[in-house]
């Protein structure tokens, strides 16, 4: 693993302190103060990149991509539905991984990332459900159909709701973080099982209607904007996650001297 850490420290040498020979950068990342400072520097660039990529993908997908032979123009909802669903799923894994890092290395910042990731993921899941329902109307003639993918998304929303509810149920930050990290890990083990069983259940009950998304058979002109949108959503997710994490840092570290210095510096300007 040391070659990996060396690679990382070479790649990010610019942002890392000089003495970071091995995994020190990893621990440095765990310092809320360090993270707050650095993320403030990353944010403008990341936001700009997210904005540009999203704008490009949206205009490309909505105005320039050809329409689908079967579904007509309503298929263009794919350019927001699929990236949102994609991020909703990866968001849960990101949350669980952050929780696991917190449990294993007892890193404060990763619990904060985990807490920040939950509402963002839930909102993206809602977006995926909403766009899926709106897409369903012209395609199936109904806003809600118990389609496998939509059902899985709904269950994912419940899983997010559980993690958030547990997070708010405890007064002690430590208990809230650890308990919801464990729940997120249990959920991660379950998500593939849930998705597979819902898929199986769907094939049992419903003959295959029009599948909303069939990415591999998509034409390149349709697929490229989708890819751009997915990248854009990832960048956007990064921006949102950093913003929410920074707030969590401020909330938990408001008594520390570095936050006070920060406020003083702001007031001095």
């Amino acid at each position: 693993m040391s070659w990996l850490s060396k690679l990382f420290s070479k790649l990010f040498a610019k942002w890392l302190p000089n003495e970071s020979s091995s995994w020190q950068w990893f621990y440095r990342l765990g310092s809320p103060k360090w993270f707050y400072r650095r993320s403030g520097q990353w944010l403008p660039w990341l936001s700009l990149a997210a904005l540009l990529v999203l704008a490009t993908g949206l205009v490309w997908g909505l105005a320039f991509a050809p329409e689908d032979a079967k579904q007509g123009n309503s298929f263009r909802i794919i350019y927001i539905h699929v990236p949102a669903a994609f991020l909703a799923q990866s968001g849960y894994f990101i949350m669980a991984i952050a929780g696991a890092i917190g449990l294993i290395w007892k890193m404060k910042i990763s619990y904060m990332v985990m807490k920040a990731a939950a509402p963002i993921g839930a909102v993206l899941t809602f977006v995926a459900l909403f766009t899926g329902a709106v897409w369903g109307k012209p395609t199936w003639g109904a806003y809600w159909v118990w389609d496998a993918r939509i059902t899985s998304m709904l269950i994912l929303l419940f899983l997010y709701a559980g993690v958030m509810a547990l997070q708010y149920a405890y007064h002690s930050i430590d208990a809230a973080s650890k308990a919801s990290a464990i729940l997120a890990l249990v959920g991660t083990v379950n998500i593939p099982i849930i998705n597979k069983s819902v898929d199986w259940w769907y094939t049992l009950h419903q003959p295959a209607t029009i599948k909303l998304t069939s990415a591999p058979s998509m034409h390149m002109d349709m697929f490229m904007p989708l890819l751009v949108m997915i990248v854009g959503f990832y960048l956007f997710y990064g921006v949102a996650l950093i913003l929410h994490t920074r707030n969590e840092i401020l909330r938990r570290e408001r008594k520390t001297s570095w936050v006070r210095e920060l406020v003083n510096a702001k007031a001095g300007l």
């Binding site: 329409e67 977006v127 709106v134 702001k266």
Partner: protein, 79 residues
């Protein structure tokens, strides 16, 4: 552009309502995900600065009026 004119892009052969409604809701929620934490951050920073102000006031009051019972320094001294 795939469509012949701007009106066709809005209409999308009758599917425009669905597509644009989804886009509008998605963009609005995404915007909210970014703007809400920015507001929250300002509120948090204000809260910290208010806290500091209050502490400063207390310390100042303790200096000008050493017999004031509310100061923590005083209680330490009396102990």
């Amino acid at each position: 552009m795939y469509f012949e004119n701007f009106a066709a892009l809005i209409n999308m052969d009758g599917h425009g309502v669905y597509v644009w409604a989804s886009v509008a809701v998605t963009l609005a929620t995404m915007l909210w995900l970014v703007i809400a934490p920015l507001y929250k951050q300002r509120a948090l920073l204000n809260e910290v600065s208010r806290d500091m102000q209050r502490q400063q006031d207390r310390e100042l009051a303790a200096k000008t009026n050493p017999s004031a019972p509310s100061s923590s320094e005083n209680t330490e001294e009396s102990n």
